[in-house]
Amino acid sequence: MEVSDDGCLSDVIQSINIPVEIRPVFFVNHKRCAFDKKLSDGDEIKIVSLIMGG
């Protein structure tokens, strides 16, 4: 996936339209990140759902 030069995590989130009900948490290069995290070439993004927590 490509993002603009000053793109950040929230751009990716918006583009893939993840439902908030599954309470997604985002990791960039294995670190949990806030939505305003700036992205660079080659960054690995992982999305994890925290849907319950038993």
Binding site: F27, R32, G53
Partner: protein
């Protein structure tokens, strides 16, 4: 009285008698039921001098006002008393099928005191109560005993049973319902065992539940049941059980690995997660009475070293305690270890954590084969855990079994050699399988201030930090950053009140997170006939929280005991929380200010207690 019956069973086991007693209605209004009402009963009638396993020690089982209502999440009850594991006040919650049956028989709870001369049971058939000898049952596991009960008293009979761990007074023995549901934590199976009580059996002839406003309650019940059933969370729980989130939990650093020494293990995440359990071993889904979520698992492992017949399967806590905590990613082994613990009557969290502590101690040579009768305790050696260690703990049949039967805190005291550095406890109770460093820093605070010790079900802090529940009507409408101490004290103060309401009304946390605060109030008012406002209900929660602290104060607990083990605070060395520090002191200090707790004594001042209707209690602690 509505919802509740106002009647309890008071069994004096030394005298071999059981009688009906009534409790003042004000007790119910002030302390709700369940864990809160049990605390009040102990405050009024319990002995603060009696050791947990002494005959005069009280063991109190209480329903909440909704037991018997056909609503998802309502079929739990609480058991409470002085814990043999921690030495102070505690309680434990259990789902399953016992609570509604007890209510239908006409009772809100059971108080046990004294000790039977020989092993026996209590049999409740509507309002007839008998104390009967069962010498031949002593020595049986939970599975065999429960099968016998079904054969003798019929399939409709519901029971609470202890296994050999309870008989042998293992400090973390649990009490089992239908082999599948446990009063797991804090060792009340040992208290039952100390009273020579093998089982409590209840059978009602009709489903009697008398609310104050049945039409309004029925309409609300349907509304809430639909809401609970349709929620995404419930559907995921239904599909993949309570371990559905394990894989996600590993990525955030919530799942403890090798006695909390690591925060990330990717291959294990996929092997142990709920969907893998579903694919590999699930045969059926099961539920507590009237629950439409059905998060319980029934599993079968037909072949292999950890084969087990079709029967109850493990929950998340058991999978993590006998999986990642022990350095194992063998899902079949966690199923077998969980089944064995259910049969022996052992709390899986404390058992797994105590063995994890022992494995670390063995690795670091603080525990040697001289103390283990030659048994080697190596990470991931599940054959040894299942074939040797768990049975030896339950029967206390070796030096190793005796040591580990004490729980990790006392075992560390016994062997010394710096092994207390590897504890994962708060107030002597082993932490559940949620690591505050990754799961949320607020957990470190709520583990420390919880009356029974490290506990994730004493309040909904875990869910609040995950963004899984919001309570805008009481000011919790903001998102928390799990990896920070910001607003944790403020949200913890709300969490302890909601937690006290949950555990006193005996509502399941998986179901009740879908219930909004005004709906809670309507439930109480329609069921019990109260005219509560939101403020009244929240005050009842705070009153219960304070009373539990007052009980602990009388057992010698002070502010300096509101701590968690260093291991749970030391920055992780890997995974998502790597290097992040928890500002525990800051959170605790702020919480103490907000909750008006004395910084030395750990209890509220006299005026605060009087203002919340705890005047007589204030007179005792502030003489």
């Amino acid at each position: 009285m509505f919802g509740n019956t106002g009647k309890i069973i008071w069994a004096d086991l030394s005298a071999g008698t059981a009688e009906h007693r009534t409790l003042p209605e004000q007790y119910y209004r002030n302390f709700i039921g369940g864990a809160g009402l049990a605390a009040k009963i102990f405050w009024e009638y319990g002995s603060f001098e009696a050791q947990p396993l002494a005959p005069e020690s009280l063991l109190i089982l209480m329903n909440g006002p909704f037991a018997g209502l056909k609503l998802s999440g309502c079929s739990r009850s609480a058991i409470a008393g002085r814990s043999p594991l921690t030495g102070h006040w505690g309680d434990s919650s259990c789902g399953g099928h016992f609570a509604p049956e007890l209510r239908y028989s006409g009772f809100d709870g059971i108080v046990l005191q004294g000790k039977l001369e020989e092993p026996g049971i209590i049999l409740i058939e509507d309002d007839e109560i008998s104390v009967l000898p069962v010498r031949e049952w002593w020595g049986m596991g939970v599975i065999e005993t429960t099968a016998l009960i079904g054969k003798k008293y019929g399939k409709k009979a519901r029971s609470l049973v202890i296994g050999q761990a309870g008989e042998n007074l293992v400090n973390y023995a649990c009490i089992m319902n239908e082999c599948h549901h446990a009063f797991g934590r804090a060792g009340y199976g040992a208290v039952m065992g100390s009273k020579n009580l093998k089982a409590i059996i209840v059978k009602s002839s009709a489903q009697r539940y008398f609310p104050a406003d049945s039409d309004s309650l029925d309409s609300l019940r349907r509304e809430l049941d639909a809401k609970i059933t349709e929620s995404v969370t419930s559907q995921v729980l239904h599909e993949n059980g309570t371990a559905a989130n394990l894989e996600g939990g590993v990525h955030i650093g919530d799942v403890p690995i090798k006695n909390f020494t690591s925060s990330f293990w990717e291959e294990m995440a996929e092997e142990l997660t709920g969907s893998t359990l579903t694919e590999k071993y699930l045969t059926n889904k099961a539920a507590c009475s009237f629950c439409k979520i059905a998060c319980k698992r029934v599993v079968e492992i037909p072949e292999g070293p950890f084969s087990i017949p079709k029967g109850p399967g493990p929950e998340y806590e058991t999978i993590a305690a006998f999986g990642s905590m022990l350095g194992s990613k063998d899902l079949a082994a966690t199923c077998k270890a969980g089944r064995l613990c259910n049969d022996l009557g052992l709390d899986t969290i404390t058992a797994g954590s105590t063995i994890a502590w022992a494995m670390e101690a063995f690795e670091k040579s603080a525990l040697t084969v001289l103390e283990t009768d030659g048994v080697e305790l190596n990470w991931a050696d599940m054959d040894t855990v299942i074939d040797v260690v768990l049975p030896q703990i339950a029967f206390r049949s070796s030096k190793l079994g005796e040591l580990l039967s004490q729980g990790s805190l006392r075992a560390a005291d016994m062997i010394g050699r710096g092994s207390s550095e590897w504890l994962t406890t708060a107030k002597g109770l082993e932490a559940p399988m949620h690591d505050p460093r990754g799961g949320g820093h607020g957990l470190a605070l709520t583990y420390s201030i919880s009356h029974r010790g490290a506990c994730h079900t004493a309040n909904p802090m875990l869910f609040m930090e995950m963004g899984a529940c919001y309570y805008p009507e009481i000011g919790f409408e903001y998102e928390l950053n799990p990896m920070s101490s910001e607003y944790k004290a403020e949200s913890a103060l709300l969490a302890v009140q909601i937690g006290a309401i949950e555990n006193s009304s005996c509502f399941c946390q998986f179901a009740d997170r879908e219930i909004a605060i005004p709906e809670w109030v309507r439930l109480f008012n329609f069921a019990a006939g109260y005219d509560w406002t939101v403020e009244d209900m929240m005050s009842a929660g705070l009153r219960v929280f304070y009373l539990q602290r007052l009980l602990n104060y009388r057992f010698g607990i002070r502010a300096s005991d509101d701590l968690v083990s260093k291991r749970l605070l030391d920055p992780s060395t890997d995974g998502a929380p790597e290097g992040v520090e928890i500002d525990f002191d800051c959170m605790k200090k702020r919480f103490y200010q907000l909750a008006k707790l004395d910084g030395t004594l750990g209890i509220p001042d006299r005026r605060t207690l009087e203002n919340i209707n705890l005047s007589s209690e204030a007179n005792v602690v502030w003489q």
